[in-house]
Amino acid sequence: MTTPRHSTILDTAFFTAWITRAAEAVEADRARLSDLDAAIGDGDHGTNLDRGFAGVLRVLDSTDARTPANVLALTGTTLISKVGGASGPLYGSAFRRAANILGEAEQVDLPGLAAALEAALAAVRKLGAARDGDKTMVDALAPAVAALGAAAADGAALLDALDAMVDAANAGAEATIPMQASKGRASYLGPRSIGHLDPGAASTVLILTALRDTAAAAARSGPDVEKEPDGDDGD
C-alpha cells in the first residue's frame, strides 16, 4: 500500500471549495453547455445549471455548513429547487444521496469519497432510468466512479485517484459523441442525435474536474484550503 503524498484533508471547507469551484466552472462554461444542448435539446442546459449553482453559492454563503454531508445536501436541495428540467432532480438527487452516505463525518477519506460518488451514480441511475450507452450524464459519471473506486481499492494517492476519475469522465463524455440518445428530449432526434457530445456528460466532467482541481490546489497550498479561493486563480 502506498502512502498518500499529501495529507489533504477532505473536510467541510474542502467540500465547500469544491462546490464553489464547480459553480465557477459551470458559469464560465454556461454558453458552451447551452450550445451543446442546442444541438440535441433545447439549448438551455448551461443557463439552467448556472442558475442552480448560483443559488447554491448564495445558500452556502448564508449557511453555516458543519459537515461535508451538510455541504452536499445543501447543494443537492438547492439544485432541485432552482434548476428545473431533468438535470435539476438528477444532479440534486446525486448530491443528496452522496450526502446521505457521508453521514455525520467531519472528514472524508478517499474510500469514503468513492462510496459517496458511487451512491450519487446509483441515485442518477434510479431516477433517470438511464443505462450505459443511452447518451446521458451516466456515460461520464459511471466510468468516473468506477475509476475512482478502483483507485481507492488499490490504495492510490488521492490526487492520482482523482486524476484517474477525471480521465475516465472525459473519455466517457467523448464516447457519447457517436451514441444515439434514447433518454430525455434528445431521444426524439433518433439517429440525428449521433455526432454530438451529450451536454449532461459535459457538465458532469466539469463538476468532477472541479473536485480534482480543488484537491490539487489544496495539496499545493497545504491543508488550509479556505485560503484557496483567494489564491492565484483570479476572477
Binding site: 442546442a38 439552467n48 432541485i80 440525428r192
Partner: protein, 330 residues
C-alpha cells in the same frame, strides 16, 4: 432575435406579473411561482394542479379557474418547473380531498412532479398523478423517452376539472383523466421553428418549402421532414397518423391548435379539412376548439388533437368553465 421582452432572464416573471394584472380571478404568488384561483381552495374539492415549461401559453395558467385547474406551475421557458413550485401549489389548493397532478410526459416534468408528490405526501397531502402522452408522432417509445404530452392536456384539464367541480373524489378523477388520455391522440406539423429567449436562436432550421411532420411542442423532431402541401394534404397527414394509432368512430372532440405563429384564418381552413375528412370516415365532430391553446412560442404550424367522446366526456366538456383562456356556460 426580435422579441417583446425586457431581458431573457425576466421573461417568466414579467409575464406572470402581467397575467396577474390582466386577470383578477387569478392569484399569482411571485415568490413561489404558482398561479391559483383567487378564491383559494374549496373544502372537500380535489385540487387540480398542472404545470410545465413556459412558452406554451395559455397552457397552463390560462386554464386556472372554475371548472378546470386550481393551480398552475410555470417553469422557465421550455423547462420543467421545480418541485418547490408544485409543493407550494399542492399546499395552496388542497381542500382536504387531495391533489391531482396532471403531468405531460417529458422527463423533466415527470421527475419534478414525482419529487413534489413525495414531498407533499410526507406533509400528509394525498397526491395522485396522471401522465398525459398523446403524441402519436413518437412511434418507438422503446428508444425514446416515450410519447410526449401535448393537446390532450387541455381535454384532461377540462374534463377532470368539471368532474372535480361536481365533488368527485381523487380516485374517480384519476380514472376519468386516464380515460381521456387513453381516448385522445395528437399530431403536430411545424412550418417554422421557435426561438427561446435564453438561446436566442431557432430550435431547428427548415428550408423555405420544408416542414417538420410530427413536431413536438418544444420543436422536437417528428417523423420526417417533407415539402409543404396544401392545408387539405397536411390535415390528412395528421389525421391519418392519429387514425392509424386509434381508429376513430362515432363522435369526437377536435382541437385544431395553432402553435403561436399561425393566423387563425389558416387554422379555420385546417379545421374545415379535418371535419370533411372525418365526415368521409363517418366520424362526427361533436365539439371543437380552434385557436391557440398549446403554443410553442412563435412556432408556425398546427397540431391536431382528437378525442373519442363518451356521453360522460361530452357532458363534462359542456359543463361551465371560467378561466382566462376557456369560458362558457357560466
Amino acid at each position: 432575435m426580435k422579441k417583446l421582452i425586457n431581458a431573457p432572464d425576466d421573461v417568466v416573471s414579467d409575464a406572470l406579473e402581467g397575467l396577474a394584472a390582466a386577470h383578477p380571478s387569478l392569484a399569482v404568488d411571485m415568490d413561489s411561482r404558482v398561479v391559483t384561483r383567487a378564491g383559494g381552495p374549496r373544502p372537500g374539492k380535489v385540487g387540480l394542479v398542472s404545470g410545465g415549461g413556459s412558452g406554451h401559453e395559455p397552457l397552463h395558467a390560462g386554464f386556472v379557474g372554475y371548472g378546470m385547474l386550481d393551480a398552475a406551475c410555470p417553469g422557465e421557458v421550455f423547462t420543467s418547473p421545480v418541485p418547490d413550485q408544485m409543493l407550494a401549489a399542492a399546499r395552496a389548493v388542497d381542500g382536504g380531498a387531495g391533489v391531482l397532478q396532471i403531468v405531460k410526459n417529458y422527463t423533466g416534468d415527470v421527475l419534478n412532479f414525482q419529487m413534489a408528490g413525495e414531498l407533499a405526501g410526507e406533509e400528509g397531502i394525498e397526491v395522485r398523478s396522471v401522465l398525459v402522452n398523446d403524441d402519436v408522432a413518437v412511434e418507438d417509445s422503446l428508444y425514446t423517452a416515450g410519447r410526449r404530452g401535448t393537446g390532450a392536456t387541455v381535454f384532461v384539464e377540462k374534463i377532470a376539472g368539471a368532474l372535480a367541480e361536481q365533488g368527485a373524489d381523487l380516485a374517480a378523477l384519476v380514472t376519468v383523466a386516464e380515460q381521456v388520455n387513453a381516448r385522445t391522440r395528437s399530431f403536430g406539423i411545424a412550418l417554422s421553428p421557435a426561438t427561446t429567449p435564453a438561446s436566442g436562436r431557432p430550435g431547428f432550421t427548415l428550408a423555405e418549402d420544408e416542414i417538420e411532420i410530427g413536431v413536438g411542442i418544444h420543436g422536437e423532431p417528428g417523423r420526417r421532414r417533407g415539402p409543404i402541401g396544401t392545408a387539405a394534404q397536411l390535415a390528412e397527414t395528421a389525421l391519418d397518423a392519429i387514425h392509424q394509432d386509434l381508429p376513430l368512430d362515432g363522435e369526437v372532440l377536435v382541437m385544431v391548435n395553432g402553435m403561436g405563429g399561425t393566423p387563425l384564418i389558416e387554422l379555420y381552413i385546417v379545421f374545415r379539412e379535418v371535419r370533411r375528412l372525418l365526415a368521409a370516415r363517418g366520424v362526427a365532430v361533436a365539439r371543437n376548439l380552434v385557436g391557440n391553446y398549446v403554443t410553442s412560442l412563435e412556432m408556425q404550424g398546427f397540431s391536431l388533437t382528437v378525442c373519442k367522446l363518451t356521453e360522460q366526456f361530452t357532458e363534462l366538456w359542456d359543463a361551465p368553465v371560467q378561466t382566462p383562456a376557456l369560458r362558457w356556460g357560466r
